[in-house]
């Protein structure tokens, strides 16, 4: 006798029949009827019409029947809110049942009924259940708070449930702790600003204790929560790591991966010289490898994560190459991922093995996989220089197989190899040319044409080859057309006598017969170049190309660091930050790796260092001199006096420069104080000078108010190479109380850029854009635009290292780019910071004598500029 009998229908109409049975007096018949209703529900049939009849069955002593009715209610309450009220009384009663199982069941089901009217009645029973004597009920109630919060957040806060939930973190039962953590994490996720999970060493300790005792699922919640904690120093980080490490041996792979996340994150804080660091590295490898022997779906997720881990810390798995070797019956999605990791782990030591494997894969059946394997051989050649020769000969062997798609892939990668190792492997060109006719994919055709154009002087019949492509010019894809145009121009510049006709033909095809603007523009440019100055044309077209980089598909370091914080999540599978794809992720929480705090810094600086910004040196010349200052102050600030002889000690800079450079360096400007701008500074500082020392104190303030503070020259923050052609340079300034970020966006790509947007990561002073980034027109290639972005300091705060580090994300229609920069602290100084003289002196005296250094300023010319010196000196001291 099976449940399939519940699916049989009768002629009269199912609903009618069921209704009658539900209202039957016989208990057994009722139960059978409810079962039939549930069975219909499981296959997606709408049985909501039976709502009142089913609810009538709710008041019963039979637990199974009660559970079944609850199941039904959860599914349909939302569509019948008025009817659902009928159930409330039973719920409230059940919450006081002597059997904890029933209490828990009631509170659990109530939370699942997403009907506003019911939630009001839920509060009291829930409050009781949160303090129930039975931990099973408390644990269920903890989850219920999260459910309720989802329905009505305000209500939960008003009722104080959040505090009760926080108290449960200290519960004696580990299961309750785990569920409280899970509930709090879920609530915190929707309120990123709230300090719900306010983790401190004490609560961390409780979590770590609960970690050992709760169920596997609870362990995942706790580990994920731990990963968000920021240990205060390396010692704390190490002790947490030590207590998390045993989780690496758990049978549940999700527990293992969450533990890996915690370790990868906190490892960042450990000094590489520590013995423990090495131990930890060794401990991480086996569990990661073990994940690969699990079911293919688990393998896939594990591989995506391992891909991130080997990019961040290749040393963990460097000896484990073999486990990534592909088995022929692996699912294709596993094969492709394994291949990717094999290339990342390829090194001189293992390249022979890797190549042998790749060659094996290149003869497999699956086309996608074969293609990727061929491409991988090319990537190995580019990555491991010593292997390049072997890779090229392997590729040539593959070309000999004449398998169409293998040949095409091989040609595409050989083009890259030429770019990486110029003048080394050109002897193979002849072999490549033999396969010209079999190429039917645009990428391969374009690659081949590029090769012919680039090496036209070595290919006797280059003109014939290119001419043969030209016949079907209009049927080619744009990629091929552009390549063909360039190749023929190259050919012409190399062999002008024989190919004049050909170049004219292609130029006219490109400019007159094509309606593709890119092609036409490129055609015109070549045409003009050739007709006005052939020598220049030669220099431009045949210019030496920069070598291509080692690895082309590495994840950008700041993004990688963020993704490491998301190990084990969907973000790690998609290799994108959650903000980029999860729908409705309220509040973007950018996560970052903790800075290394160890007292002994490893020799290699952590790769988290902001790109392209050398940390500002400590200012070497600070015009601070104790007794000089004393003298100045003793002057009683009378009429303009001849100040003591002053000058910069080393460079004969003007007064103004000293002000600029001095201030800038003193407050740790963006490291650009070598070039003090002569254009901005004088106008800025000039005006308030001249009234002598009397204005000394006003001046320090005046520097900030009237005329705006010192503005460093713009420096390149984001080089075009790193941002698909978008170059960003900029600086920070403060004008009449408002901070702004002055940007120049330059489009160095070949396509038009638009849809610009900007976002800051949390930073030490809460700097945030006060307005969206306004770029009014799309940015055409080689065009640049200046923008002044107003900033405010009301954003969320997170301590950065260095303190004035700012991480910025800029988006355009092409991609999202990340960079970081340092802002000068003076842009944050408010203008009304004027101090009374006595106050200043008192403050000055508070600074211990050890902190004073002295030096003489000599040869100072006695003009208004001189005052500038002294005032700066003071200003510097005051801020020191």
């Amino acid at each position: 006798m099976t449940d399939s009998k519940y699916f049989t229908t009768t002629k009269k109409g199912e609903i009618f029949e069921l209704k009658a049975e539900l209202n039957s007096d016989k208990k057994e018949k009722k139960k059978e009827a409810v079962k039939k209703v549930i069975a219909s529900m499981t296959v997606g049939k709408d049985v909501s019409a039976l709502f009142p009849d089913v609810v009538n069955c709710m008041q019963t002593d039979n637990l199974e029947l009660k559970k079944l009715v609850y199941l039904y209610l959860m599914n349909y309450a939302k569509s019948q809110p008025d009817m659902a009220i009928m159930a409330v009384n039973t719920f409230v009663k059940d919450c006081e049942d002597p059997n904890p199982l029933i209490r828990a069941l009631a509170v659990r089901t109530m939370g699942c009924i997403r009907v506003d009217k019911i939630t009001e009645y839920l509060c009291e029973p829930l409050r009781k259940c949160l303090k129930d004597e039975d931990p099973y009920v408390r644990k269920t109630a903890a989850v219920c708070v999260a459910k309720l919060h989802d329905i009505n957040a305000q209500l939960v806060e008003d009722q104080g449930f959040l505090d009760t939930l926080k108290d449960l973190i200290s519960d004696s039962n580990p299961m309750v702790v785990a569920n409280a953590v899970a509930a709090l994490s879920e609530i915190a996720e929707s309120h990123p600003s709230s300090n719900l999970l306010d983790l401190n060493p004490q609560s961390i300790n409780k979590l770590l204790t609960a970690l050992n005792e709760c169920t596997e699922w609870g362990q995942i919640f706790i580990l994920d929560c731990l990963a968000n904690y920021m240990p205060k120093d390396d010692r704390e980080a190490q002790s947490i790591c030590e207590r998390v490490t045993p989780r690496l041996s758990h049978a549940n792979s999700a527990v293992v991966l969450s533990a890996v996340k915690v370790l990868m994150k906190f490892m960042e804080m450990l000094s590489k010289d520590l013995d423990y660091y090495g131990t930890l590295l060794k401990k991480l490898a086996p569990p990661l490898v073990t994940l690969l022997s699990a079911e293919p779906e688990l393998q896939y997720v594990a591989l995506r994560n391992i891909n991130l881990i080997v990019q961040k810390r290749p040393e963990i798995l460097k000896h484990e190459m073999k486990v990534f070797f592909v088995k022929y019956n692996d699912p294709i999605y596993v094969k492709l991922e394994k291949l990717d990791i094999m290339i990342r782990l390829a090194s001189q030591a293992n390249i022979a093995q890797v190549l042998a494997e790749l060659k094996e894969y290149a003869t497999e059946v699956d086309v996608d996989f074969v293609r990727k394997a061929v491409r991988a051989i090319g990537r190995c050649a580019i990555k491991v220089e010593q292997s390049a020769e072997r890779c090229v000969s392997t590729l040539l062997d593959l070309i000999q197989t004449k398998v169409n798609y293998v040949v095409q892939e091989a040609i595409v990668v050989i083009k890259d190899i030429f770019r990486k190792y110029p003048n080394k492997y050109e002897s193979v060109i002849a072999t490549l040319c033999e396969n010209l006719d079999s190429l039917d994919e645009p990428e391969a055709r374009a690659a081949m044409i590029w090769i012919v154009g680039e090496y036209a002087e070595r290919i006797d019949n280059a003109d014939e080859l290119l001419e043969s492509f030209l016949e079907g010019f209009h049927d080619e894809s744009t990629q091929v057309q552009l390549q063909l145009l360039t190749a023929i121009v190259k050919l012409f510049l190399k062999k002008p006598t024989e190919t004049q006709e050909l170049v004219q033909q292609v130029l006219s095809l490109a400019t007159q017969d094509s309606d593709n603007p890119d092609l036409r523009d490129r055609g015109y440019i070549y045409w003009r170049l050739l007709s006005t100055d052939p020598v220049a044309a030669k220099e431009v077209v045949l210019a030496e190309k920069p070598l291509i980089s080692e690895e082309t598909d590495l994840i950008e370091p700041t993004l990688l660091d963020e993704l490491i914080c998301y190990i084990g999540t969907l973000a790690s599978v998609y290799h994108k930050p959650p903000s980029a794809f999860v729908e409705g992720s309220r509040g973007v929480l950018h996560k970052g790796l903790p800075p290394r705090t160890g007292s002994i810094e490893g020799p290699e600086s952590p790769d988290t260092a902001p790109s392209g910004e050398p940390a500002a040196d400590q200012p070497s010349v600070i015009p601070t001199q104790g007794d000089l200052l004393g003298d100045l102050l003793n002057l009683d600030l009378g009429p303009p006096v001849t100040g003591p002889p002053m000058a910069t000690s080393t460079v004969p800079m003007g007064a103004v420069d000293l002000l600029g450079g001095g201030l800038d360096s003193l407050i740790g400007g963006s490291g650009s104080f070598t070039a003090a701008p002569s254009s901005t500074a004088p106008t800025n500082v000039g005006a308030p000078l001249g009234s002598g020392l009397g204005d000394l104190f006003d001046l320090t303030a005046g520097v900030g108010t009237l005329s705006g503070s010192y503005v460093a020259p713009k420096t390149v923050w984001l080089p075009a190479m790193k941002a698909k052609g978008l170059e960003i340079s900029g600086t920070f300034s403060r004008q009449v109380g408002s901070i702004s970020m002055d940007l120049v966006l330059t489009n160095k790509a070949l396509q038009v850029m638009s849809d610009f947007a900007i976002q800051f990561n949390r930073n030490s002073f809460g700097l945030a854009p006060a307005a969206p980034l306004q770029v009014h027109a799309p940015l055409a290639p080689n065009q640049s635009v200046e923008i002044s972005l107003p900033l405010n300091t009301v954003g969320s705060v997170m301590k950065m290292d260095p303190l004035n580090n700012l991480q910025v994300a800029v988006k355009n229609n092409i991609d999202v780019f990340y960079f970081s920069t340092l802002y000068p602290l003076h842009i944050l100084f408010v203008e009304d910071g004027k101090m009374e003289r006595q106050m200043f002196l008192a403050t000055w005296k508070d600074i211990p004598n050890e902190n004073e250094t002295q030096f003489q300023i000599k040869d100072c010319s006695l003009n208004a500029g001189g005052d500038g010196h002294s005032s700066t000196a003071l200003g510097s001291c005051a801020s020191a």
Partner: protein
């Protein structure tokens, strides 16, 4: 209202012909049409095994597993650890297997109400609630013919009405008050060899995936210690939560209060090349000729490093290239079949006797006019060796504390081929 669902929103069970035969929603009802994205991916993948486990759709994520010819497709709405979901889905499938003896469409349809009760018990608001088999069994009794007869006579139900004892204790995997007349503890040490052997017969990659599966039927609260002759073999181990990790770290002894019944005590991996013996070798000659549209096939299997034990249950499967029409072979031992549709050649060899090595040879007929196949097929070998753990792992002794009776103890060893592939 903005819906936020932390974990699994809905679950659909889909059979191989694309019918959704069960759906369960933990919050609001998600329309079946969301599965269209899954079907699309399935179509693209051609082979059922190749459907990607994570699929993104405009509003949801679909995370799926494929088990026993059923797709378990879960619907996710927000950021969630995919491994969590996948592990959970496998646990659901394990539970069905445990309850109904098989995880099949028929079994699920026949027990749809229990399935529904189970799913409800296993997940609350996306948080896994009870996934330990013994706790579930106290909450919801597994169906038996006898019980359904009794239930229908007495009107009693298959739902437990008291709180499972293990649910909250420090040992959630064991219930209190276990009683047996015969107290027994059995351990199966099962090792699978994963290997890739290249054309020339040398080992490209080999490792052992081992597990110790236990069947413990002991009364009361027994506290067991299992020690090994050579525990140093085990340096990469995953433990059942019952094992005291500290004890293992310091003494290399497995100390635990076992769950009741069947469970996996540990799983381990032995990868260092010299420890992995390869018990069989394969001599092969497979070639295709273009002009005659035919080819030769000649394979011999022999024993190697088998520690004096018999290699049995040998089966070879080969995915032949598409161009192969049929095969005309003679086997000196066992029988072979060739499926001209899937192009799979299966040779059931049986036991290997070193005196007379099994051989399979003959002609391969290719589609006329088709180009000669580029790829050479890999040979997939299965085998079994009784009473041997190929890594050499040996149980030393089992001690029991906490209970007075003398249990019956047994250890069994077996070695099998895992993913054992020979390239040709």
């Amino acid at each position: 209202m903005c819906f936020q669902q932390k974990m699994i929103h809905s679950l659909f069970l889909i059979n191989c012909s694309g019918d959704i035969f069960l759906e369960k929603h933990w919050k609001s009802v998600v329309s079946q049409s969301v599965c269209d994205y899954f079907f699309e991916a399935q179509e693209k993948a051609i082979d059922v095994e190749n459907v990607p486990p994570v699929i993104s759709t405009p509003h949801h994520y679909l995370i799926s597993i494929y088990r026993d010819k059923i797709f378990f497709v879960s619907v996710i709405q927000t950021e969630v650890p995919p491994l969590f979901v996948i592990e959970f889905l496998h646990r659901v499938a394990d539970t069905f297997q445990d309850y109904f003896g098989e995880c099949s469409e028929t079994a699920i349809k026949d027990n749809v109400v229990i399935v529904y009760e189970l799913l409800e018990e296993m997940l609350d608001n996306g948080f896994p609630l009870a996934t330990e088999s013994n706790i579930l069994k106290e909450l919801i009794k597994p169906p038996t013919i006898l019980r359904s007869v009794v239930n229908s006579i007495t009107g009693s139900s298959n739902v437990g009405d008291t709180l499972p004892t293990g649910q909250l204790s420090n040992i959630p995997w064991r219930r209190a008050g276990v009683k047996y007349t015969n107290n027994e503890a059995y351990f199966d040490v099962i090792e699978e060899i994963d290997a890739i052997i290249d054309k020339s017969g040398s080992t490209v990659f080999a490792e052992i995936q081992g597990v110790i599966d236990s069947c413990i039927k002991l009364s009361g609260m027994p506290d067991l210690s299992l020690s090994f002759m050579n525990p140093r073999l085990l340096d990469d181990v995953s433990f059942h939560p019952c094992i005291r990790f500290k004890r293992w770290e310091s003494e290399r002894v497995l100390s635990f209060i076992p769950p009741d019944g069947n469970f996996r005590l540990i799983s381990y991996r032995v990868s260092s090349q010299n420890l992995v013996a390869i018990p069989v070798y394969v001599k092969h000659m497979i070639s295709f000729k273009e002009n005659t549209s035919s080819g030769r096939f000649d394979v011999t299997i022999g024993p190697k490093q088998n520690m004096g034990k018999t290699v049995e249950g040998v089966v070879m499967t080969v995915h032949m290239p598409k161009a192969v029409l049929n095969m005309n072979l003679t086997a000196t031992q066992g029988s072979y079949t060739f499926d001209p549709v899937t192009k799979v050649l299966t040779w059931d060899v049986g036991k290997i006797t070193p005196q007379k090595l099994p051989n399979l040879k003959g002609m391969v007929n290719l589609q006329s006019g088709a180009p000669k196949p580029e790829e050479n097929p890999s040979l997939n070998i299965q085998f079994k060796i009784q009473q041997l753990a190929i890594s050499g792992l040996k149980v030393n002794r089992l001690d029991m504390y906490g209970e007075k009776y003398k249990p019956f103890k047994g250890v069994k060893y077996i070695t099998k081929a895992g993913k054992f592939q020979v390239r040709t």
